[in-house]
């Protein structure tokens, strides 16, 4: 396993965890407080991944802590199992519950998702409080402590080591996960779901994976909590606790893994101090700490809604490039698709039609793209060009007609299937993940050329594959002339450069058909020439290109054939020289020639 941000820092931290509790420098009181901070950190780390990175806000994580805690409580008390055996059981139960809940939850859109988490968060709270064999509202007491041989881990100092080892492992696993192929897909989904899906990311599956991972971290926290507290009751697993965990992630700076620990420490410490000081300040008349806690929460949101970590430690560090060792050798080992001989029919649109209610955007259009050819799809604004693109790539379903690719009729086309078939596309309105580096954006294009999943990423067994994907991404960036800005954040680029990044990303898919939606818009003259050169090179490799473009010089000089649409209807098809003379085309572009 590779340790995050320099092995020195991490091993220093690990050493500190093992030594500090036994030096006598830290009073018992603080040790206990830090144990609670550690346990909360685990939940908050999961939330950072879920909310900060995956964009799914969950108010219900406390329920998963409850599942972890109750599982071990029931198994140790009623069945006499050893707590070490109940650890996998706690994780499995949380995983199963999260899988079921998540399958519905991750499909909720917009603010329905957080509302959904509130709903099941409350439902589970009442469930814990009403099931008799879970002790109902009183909960379960007398949970056995953890044991090493005959030695029981009751001393908070010893438990400190257990808790913080778990936190360090969780941090490493989460960082590894984020750095891998699945992590990249998840980061992309939040900012640009269209782009991620167009390169084969299954959004529901990827989101579910994150959801289950976050829930399992919460389940682990629940297991630790149960054996530290030695009793469980529904109280700490309700919606208020769930809100508090979310607050920890937000306070730390959602999206920052270390921020989760900072947030957990901040909130736990704050609550503790309020409990200590408020009775002294205002007398012991009510639960002022709840009042103050709510007020502090509102104040934090009003003053630092991006969290403390960015305030204290600045913006995220530049991404660490995977090591490109044996650059050349690795590059060749990435499998490439066999391409057909030039001039064979590759994509055929047969009488395709798309109606939005009464508006027919694409009306009975037919055309063919042959292998190794550049086909231009032109027409005035609103002619239905982008809709045609979306029909071919499965973003929109056909109203009627059919599309054949390589002799096969495409049924129930989805963006993911289109990517798997080798349709690499760019977007009319640039779809780039602004907070990822340029090369990571391009590597997203090769999503389907890798196979590493969550587990391989966490265990860092994906490094060779990642190096291969990144070597390929680097090569595509060289082809579009952006190799020197590969590690810049994509959000800092100009529009023309972003269009080229999209072309590189589409090439990274190892496409059979490259579908470019106005790639030259926003490009300077020199860049246009370079793009034209690149597209000719691509064509000579046997890849077909379907090009939507308004720059007539560009498209006329490049395309082998042109298809002209107007108001959703095909009005002409042929070689550029003929299209220039076509009366219907002139009429559409210039109005009536009187």
């Amino acid at each position: 396993m590779r340790l995050p941000r320099g092995p020195a820092m991490a091993s220093g931290g690990a050493l500190a965890i093992l030594i500090i509790p036994f030096t006598g420098l830290m009073p018992d009181y603080w040790i206990t407080l830090f144990n609670y901070i550690g346990i909360s950190s685990l939940v908050a780390i999961g939330l950072v991944l879920l909310t900060g990175v995956g964009g799914m806000t969950s108010f219900g994580q406390a329920a998963f802590v409850g599942f972890g805690a109750y599982t071990t409580a029931v198994l140790t008390l009623h069945f006499g199992l050893s707590p070490w055996l109940t650890l996998p059981a706690s994780l499995l139960v949380t995983m199963a519950v999260a899988g079921l809940i998540g399958a519905v939850t991750v499909r909720l859109s917009g603010h329905y998702l957080p509302l959904g988490t509130i709903a099941w968060g409350i439902a589970f709270f009442y469930l814990f409080g009403n099931v008799d064999w879970l002790g109902a509202h009183d909960g379960l007491g007398g949970i056995p402590p953890l044991r090493l041989g005959s030695h029981t881990l009751i001393d908070p100092r010893e438990y400190f080591v257990v808790v913080w080892v778990a936190v360090v492992l969780a941090v490493i696993a989460t960082q590894n996960l984020l750095g891998g192929r699945v992590g990249r897909a998840i980061r992309a989904l939040r900012r640009s779901a269209r782009a991620a899906e167009a390169f084969g990311v299954d959004s529901a599956a990827a989101k579910l994976m994150v959801f289950v991972y976050a829930a399992m971290l919460a389940g682990l926290a629940g297991w630790l909590y149960a054996h530290f507290q030695r009793s469980v009751s529904p109280g700490p697993f309700g919606i208020n606790a769930g809100t508090e965990y979310l607050l920890m992630a937000v306070l730390g700076g959602a999206g920052r893994v270390y921020g989760a620990i900072l947030g957990a420490a901040g909130i736990t410490f704050l609550r503790d101090q309020l409990q200590n000081w408020l009775p002294w300040l205002v007398g012991n008349t009510g639960n002022f700490e709840t009042v103050a806690f709510g007020a502090v929460l509102v104040l934090i949101l009003q003053t630092a809604s991006h969290g403390l970590w960015p305030v204290l430690f600045g913006p995220p560090p530049a991404p660490t490039p995977p090591r490109l060792r044996d650059h050349e050798r690795l590059q060749q080992s990435l499998k490439e698709r066999p391409l057909q001989a030039p001039g064979m029919p590759l994509l055929q649109a047969l009488h395709i039609r798309k109606a939005f209610g009464g508006l027919v955007a694409v009306n009975d259009v037919s055309f063919e793209v042959q292998s190794g050819r550049i086909i231009g799809l032109i027409g005035p604004n609103g002619a239905g060009k982008s809709t045609t693109f979306n029909l071919i790539t499965g973003v929109l379903p056909l109203s009627s007609g059919q599309i054949q690719f390589d002799g096969q009729t495409l049924r129930a086309q989805t963006p993911q299937r289109a990517a798997a078939l080798g349709l690499g596309r760019t977007f009319q309105h640039v779809e780039i993940v602004a907070d990822m580096s340029v090369i990571e954006n391009v590597a997203l294009g090769a999503h389907l050329r890798g196979t590493a999943g969550l587990l391989r990423a966490i265990l860092r067994l994906d490094r060779a594959e990642e190096a291969r994907l990144f070597a390929n991404a680097q090569r595509q960036l060289e082809r579009v002339g952006l190799a020197d800005i590969a590690f810049k954040p994509a959000g800092t680029l100009a529009l023309g450069q972003l269009r080229l990044v999209e072309v590189a990303r589409a090439l990274c898919l190892d496409p059979r058909l490259l579908m470019l939606d106005e790639p030259a818009a926003g490009l300077r003259v020199g860049e246009k020439k370079a793009l034209a050169r690149l597209l000719r090179e691509v064509r000579s490799e046997g890849i077909s290109v379907l090009l939507v473009e308004h720059d007539m010089d560009f498209v006329m000089s490049l395309a082998d054939r042109l298809v002209v649409l107007d108001f959703g209807t095909g009005i002409a098809e042929g070689v550029p020289a003929d299209i220039r003379q076509d009366a219907a085309v002139l009429e559409a572009y210039l109005g009536g020639v009187s």
């Binding site: 806000t57 499909r107 709903a119 809100t243 937000v250 103050a292 929460l297 509102v298």
Partner: protein, 345 residues
């Protein structure tokens, strides 16, 4: 289950549902105008019932003190934010609304409470005490972050809820109380005994819903609020002050919450934190209505009330579990069939 029990459950469900409908309408209104999911909406309900209970016993309720506390906070918050561009008008408004009004209400309550003027006076006083809290809370907690994402606003709403519940315990104490029924009449309808309270709940709810519909359809203010709801920037461009719209939405929400409090007080024992569950169930109805449609919300609220009555008959321990689980399939269905643009930051 025989018909009598069914009819009894139906009556129970409709009455609860009617109260949820009022609270849910407020939730929808506030969300549409300000994008705040008003978690503390239920607190208005509970605090009103507790205020009336105190007045019925001839005690001076703590509510005016709470109002004064909120007024001071609102004044401080606004003064801090507009420190550099204070106008005389703003100062006058702050002094009048945030300080003079609560003090006047305090004096009024202290004068009226020992006189025990009767139910109507108690109700009017309680509603008058609760309603100004809405705009105050908006100015304290939400106006400074009015342009944040729904998530940030939602978390702030939870913060307000925590604080208000804590204040509720502080001001009203841990004991639960009920209030006198609005009408002690009752009559039989076949096997079913219909109480005057039930009829009162239905009439008040229906009248308020109709007034609301008229307000939004006919008045300029109502139209301005609808404009804010459908497009904030557009509304601002045509000269509708969105801050004022937010305050009005919160005032209406507090008013509706207070009326709901008047209605539920006689139906159940109300504690300082009872509002949360009432608010959440209303909120379930609001979501079922898609957070946009008022008629759908009312229907959904009646549905939630009826489902709750049924669940409490079949499996009373798991009533809350079932009510809140009910929402998830509906959310999933809405996500598929009523997709809306993803919230971006």
């Amino acid at each position: 289950m025989d018909t009598t029990i069914f009819l009894f459950l139906l009556q129970d469900g409709i009455i609860n549902g009617a109260v949820y409908a009022l609270v849910a309408i407020a939730t929808v209104l506030v969300f549409a105008v300000t994008r705040v999911i008003l978690v503390p909406q239920g607190e208005f309900v509970a605090f009103t019932a507790l205020t009336i209970a105190a007045l019925e016993n001839g005690r001076v309720p703590a509510t005016p003190w709470l109002l004064l506390a909120l007024g001071c906070l609102a004044a401080l918050s606004e003064l801090a934010r507009h420190f550099r561009d204070l106008t005389l008008r703003r100062v006058a408004r702050i002094v009048l609304f945030d300080l003079a009004l609560p003090v006047a209400m305090l004096l009024l309550t202290r004068t009226l409470a020992p006189l025990q003027l009767g139910q109507a006076a108690n109700i009017l006083l309680a509603v008058a005490l609760i309603t100004p809290m809405g705009p105050m809370i908006y100015r304290i907690a939400f106006e400074p972050i009015a342009d944040s994402s729904v998530l940030v606003l939602l978390m702030a709403a939870f913060g307000v809820h925590f604080s208000l519940t804590g204040l509720g315990l502080l001001f009203f104490g841990p004991e639960g109380t009920g209030t006198a029924p609005l009408s002690s009449a009752s009559f039989s309808l076949g096997d079913l005994v219909v109480t005057g309270q039930s009829v009162a709940v239905l009439i008040v709810t229906a009248v308020l819903l109709i007034l609301f519909a008229l307000f939004f359809a006919r008045t300029l203010l109502g139209k301005a609020l609808r404009a804010c709801a459908s497009n904030r920037i557009g509304a601002r461009l045509v000269g509708i002050p969105t801050s004022a719209a937010g305050q009005i939405a919160f005032a209406l929400a507090a008013l509706l919450g207070a009326v709901s409090g008047v209605l539920v007080g006689p139906l159940m024992t109300v504690f300082y934190d009872s509002g949360f569950l009432i608010g959440l169930k209303a909120f379930v109805a609001a979501i079922l209505g898609g957070l946009v449609s008022y008629p759908l919300t009312v229907l959904a609220a009646l549905g939630v009330g009826f489902a709750e009555a049924l669940f409490s008959f079949w499996a009373s321990n798991f009533k809350e579990v079932l009510v809140f689980t009910l929402i998830i399939p509906v959310l999933a269905w809405r996500s598929v069939y009523a997709p809306h643009a993803e919230e971006t930051e």
